[in-house]
């Protein structure tokens, strides 16, 4: 964790995320009612409405803030749920092996190979619209990604000495998974969680843009749905879709930065590479083509 704090990318990512979390939590308290019709529809940005108004005369700033709240909550919830299911399936399959692993892998691979959007659409189209449906759909279609990496990690940890030792000492399988395997996958789980959250936020926005969400709720996805529905392009109302898109991208970017920082911490070679480069540069040497295989601590 301290290492994370010293990583520039991690700091950028965390900073942006913290900013959005604060805005999502407290922003709506100060902004106008996001669904009230306050001014002329499609008024451009002004002092009164810094981001302009929508095709229904609602304040875009207020909508963006309120949208942040729902979209982030859905995103993180789905991310967490995906990793939880992924961990359950992945560790079970990886630890038990045999036919359980065969079936588990088959199911995981089938879910992985099915194209996401059509699967989401076919499920969402039959369920009543709403945030819960969206979250459910995203969990069902996305859990396999985490399950795959967690299973692979479980396989490689299963034969490690400390797990074997625990097995020999007669510990219960569940306990081994919970106390030996999971804690040793912390960075992998964190990375899977972030990946799942990025996916969830993006897919949520896409589904709601298609009109599969509850369009009377204010979320980032419905904001874009309404922008397109109220002819934002035709009327030149760029302000109705630019802020939301930028927010989605910023959050995604921050999460990706954090993820790459975690990856780097978990991957000795990438980390060594960075230190090695820094040292070379300190000595005024241009980096060559080879990578150090042995990691040398550069302080």
């Amino acid at each position: 964790m301290t290492a994370l704090m010293h990583n520039r990318r991690a700091l950028i990512g965390l900073g942006v995320l913290a900013g959005f979390a604060l805005l999502a939590m407290f922003g709506p308290l100060f902004a106008a009612d996001p669904s009230a019709q306050l001014a002329l529809p499609l008024s451009p940005p002004s002092w009164q409405h810094p981001f302009g108004t929508t095709g229904q005369g609602q304040d875009v700033l207020a909508q963006t803030l309120a949208g942040a709240r729902t979209s982030l909550v859905i995103g993180f919830t789905v991310g967490l749920a995906q990793v939880a299911i992924g961990a359950l399936v992945g560790t079970t399959a990886g630890y038990l092996g045999g036919w359980v692993d065969d079936v588990g892998t088959l199911v995981i691979n089938i879910f992985l190979i099915m194209p996401g959007l059509p699967l989401m659409v076919i499920i969402a189209a039959y369920l009543p619209t709403g945030s819960i449906t969206i979250a459910l759909v995203l969990i069902v279609t996305g859990w396999a990604w985490s399950a795959r990496v967690i299973r692979a990690q479980t396989l490689s940890l299963r034969d490690k000495d400390f797990v074997l030792a625990a097995t020999v000492s007669g510990e219960h399988g569940l306990r081994i998974v919970a106390c030996e395997l999971i804690p040793n996958m912390a960075s992998l789980l964190a990375s899977a969680f972030i990946g799942a959250t990025i996916y969830a936020i993006g897919a949520e926005v896409a589904l709601e843009f298609l009109g599969l969400g509850d369009v009377s709720h204010v979320t980032w996805g419905t904001n874009l749905y309404w922008a397109s529905n109220d002819s934002a392009l035709l009327t030149g109302a760029w302000w109705t879709f630019v802020p939301t898109g930028a927010c989605v991208a910023l959050v995604g970017f921050a999460l990706a930065m954090l993820n790459s920082a975690i990856d780097e911490l978990g991957n000795p070679r990438l980390r060594a590479e960075r230190g090695y480069l820094a040292e070379l540069r300190r000595h005024g040497v241009r980096p060559g083509v080879s990578t150090p295989v042995l990691r040398r601590e550069v302080s």
């Binding site: 019709q37 619209t129 509850d214 035709l234 030149g236």
Partner: protein, 552 residues
């Protein structure tokens, strides 16, 4: 407000460097309401509810008469005239001589008889339900048809008149007309020859045997582009790619008309079916007429129309009639219907009088003492309705009703309103040729279904015996004066009992660009509705247009 100027500049710039009508001279580019990414070759005119290409019912197959919603007249088309028997149980129709099908064959009474018999054999094709009141159709001679009625039902004339007629010599060999795509149509209409058909565009050229030639049509061909979204369609209109358009365009005056006042015109007469707030009269307190009137008074219809409909229509009067029925409108009824005026004070007074007093927090209590909470159901996809409902809910909250909009999936909403499982809901009224159909849907006991049973109309479940009498009399009258008197009485009944709460009449979308063609109808020359979305009225327009440059 500098930015507004910027917006206009952007949009002007958008069209400024963009298109270019790609059509040859004399080829009319039509944008009708159907939005699709790819055209499927289907020209079956008897399947109007399916995915049938526009020309099938608007330019190829013609009816006996065309009902002009604006004038209220029937324009003789394949028929030249008609006469009722004295007991109104038989209708004799004289057919136009000299009409030919587009393959050169003669059009005769046999074709009319065959068409109606086809509807009777395949009930999925009888969209207007004519066989519910018709008992037989026979050819008296080559140019005369007689239609026998199973009961006296004068409103049925409309459905018979507008039925597209198909050729017997082609259709008699079709095994299943319900799923037949009719890829090579043979018809009597002005445009029948499909000269190009791709998934993104198609073109239909003039019928060489058209009965109005050589005077009409002047247009050489009609051409269609696939517009998958409203935005795309509107952009094509704004940038001059299409000549005649019928889809909703936001802020049309600013983004379309203002760009070229000489050639860009639109006309949205409010003559389509109305939009109403339905209150379920089987539930308290909505069974109380005072409550329904108070709800109505709490609504600021001007704001509803402005925010929901871009001011394209007008607030409804208390009769709920649209402008197509203006000649029936009874001034006394309109004057009595003061409950459509926004009046918070009177709304409050009426609710107090009904015993629904405000409790702590300013929210009224129902008679059982609970807080008056109510959801207004709307279907999610209908953005104009959603906007309107938000204004309505705010109005209701001002008079102490805790009203919230609840957007449902279309099917959920449709199920709720049909089965009567709702308290308040926005809904449509079907457009009918005369107020008869409208008031039948609003207050005939024949249309009331028990809660839980799907009702195609009368979702609010309201019926009056007096209305039944008046409607029954209307079904049997052919005398205009009597018809007017009965209709006026129905209006007064509606205004007195407020079965549903009219919000605004629906506008018919129509816009044109007269750079390449002239002769479009508009408010100054309202010979037909401008909207291309009306079949068969579009025939009236298609045969009147004149290209500016003579075709080569």
């Amino acid at each position: 407000m500098l930015p507004r100027a910027v917006v206009i500049a952007w949009v002007v710039a958008a069209g400024g460097c963009a298109p270019r009508s790609q059509a040859e001279p004399g080829v009319l580019l039509v944008e009708e309401k159907e939005q699709t990414a790819s055209f499927i070759r289907n020209f079956n005119p008897l399947l109007e509810v399916g995915d049938v290409r526009w020309p099938a019912t608007h330019a190829m197959y013609e009816p006996l008469f065309i009902y002009n919603a604006l004038s209220g007249d029937y324009v003789p088309w394949l028929a030249t005239g008609s006469a009722w028997s004295d007991d109104h149980r038989r209708l004799r129709v004289d057919l136009r001589p000299g009409v030919r099908w587009s393959d050169g064959a003669r059009f005769t009474a046999r074709d009319v008889v065959f068409t109606f018999e086809l509807l009777s054999r395949f009930d999925a094709l009888d969209l207007r339900g004519v066989w519910a009141f018709v008992s037989g159709v026979t050819a008296v001679d080559d140019h005369t048809v007689e239609i026998a009625f199973s009961r006296v039902f004068l409103p049925g004339y409309y459905y018979l008149a507008q039925q597209p007629i198909v050729p017997e010599h082609v259709w008699k060999d079709v095994a299943d007309p319900v799923t037949w795509a009719n890829p090579h149509p043979v018809a009597t209409g002005p445009f029948t020859e499909i000269t190009a058909f791709e998934t993104q565009a198609y073109q239909v050229d003039r019928n060489p045997y058209y009965w109005q030639l050589p005077e009409r049509p002047q247009v050489r061909a009609i051409r269609f582009l696939a517009f998958p979204s409203n935005d795309q369609a509107a952009f094509a209109l704004v940038s001059g790619e299409v000549d005649w358009a019928g889809s909703f365009v936001p802020a049309i005056d600013r983004i379309f008309a203002a760009r070229d006042r000489e050639h860009h015109h639109y006309w949205f007469p409010p003559v389509d079916g109305g939009v109403l707030l339905y209150a379920n009269t089987t539930r308290a307190p909505y069974d109380d007429v005072r409550v329904r009137k108070a709800l109505s008074m709490a609504i600021d219809r001007a704001l509803v129309v402005k925010v929901g409909m871009y001011d394209y229509t007008r607030p409804a009067d208390a009769t709920g009639l649209n402008d197509a029925h203006a000649r029936f409108r009874d001034d006394a009824a309109v004057a009595a219907g003061d409950w459509v005026q926004h009046d918070v004070t009177r709304a409050n007074a009426l609710l107090d009088e009904a015993g629904l007093l405000r409790g702590p927090g300013g929210v009224r209590r129902l008679r059982d003492g609970s807080r008056w909470q109510v959801a207004i159901n709307v279907p999610t996809g209908f953005s104009d309705w959603v906007r309107a409902t938000q204004v309505i809910a705010r109005g209701l909250r001002e008079v102490g009703i805790d009203a919230r909009m609840k957007a449902h999936d279309f099917n959920a909403w449709y199920e709720q309103v049909q089965e009567g499982e709702f308290a308040l809901a926005l809904g449509w009224a079907e457009p009918y040729p005369t107020p008869y159909g409208y008031y039948r849907a609003m207050m005939s006991t024949a249309t009331v279904k028990p809660v839980g049973v799907a009702a195609p109309e009368n979702w609010h479940r309201f019926g009056l015996a007096r209305a039944d009498e008046l409607l029954g009399a209307l079904e049997q009258t052919a005398d205009p004066a009597t018809e007017h008197r009965l209709t006026a009485e129905l209006q007064r009944l509606f205004v007195a009992s407020a079965p549903a709460i009219p919000l605004f009449p629906g506008p018919l979308w129509g816009a044109y660009n007269s750079t390449r063609f002239t002769g479009f109808p508009d408010a100054d020359d309202p010979y037909a509705p401008l909207s291309p979305n009306l079949s068969p009225q579009a025939l009236l327009v298609l045969t009147r247009l004149v290209p500016r440059e003579p075709p080569p």
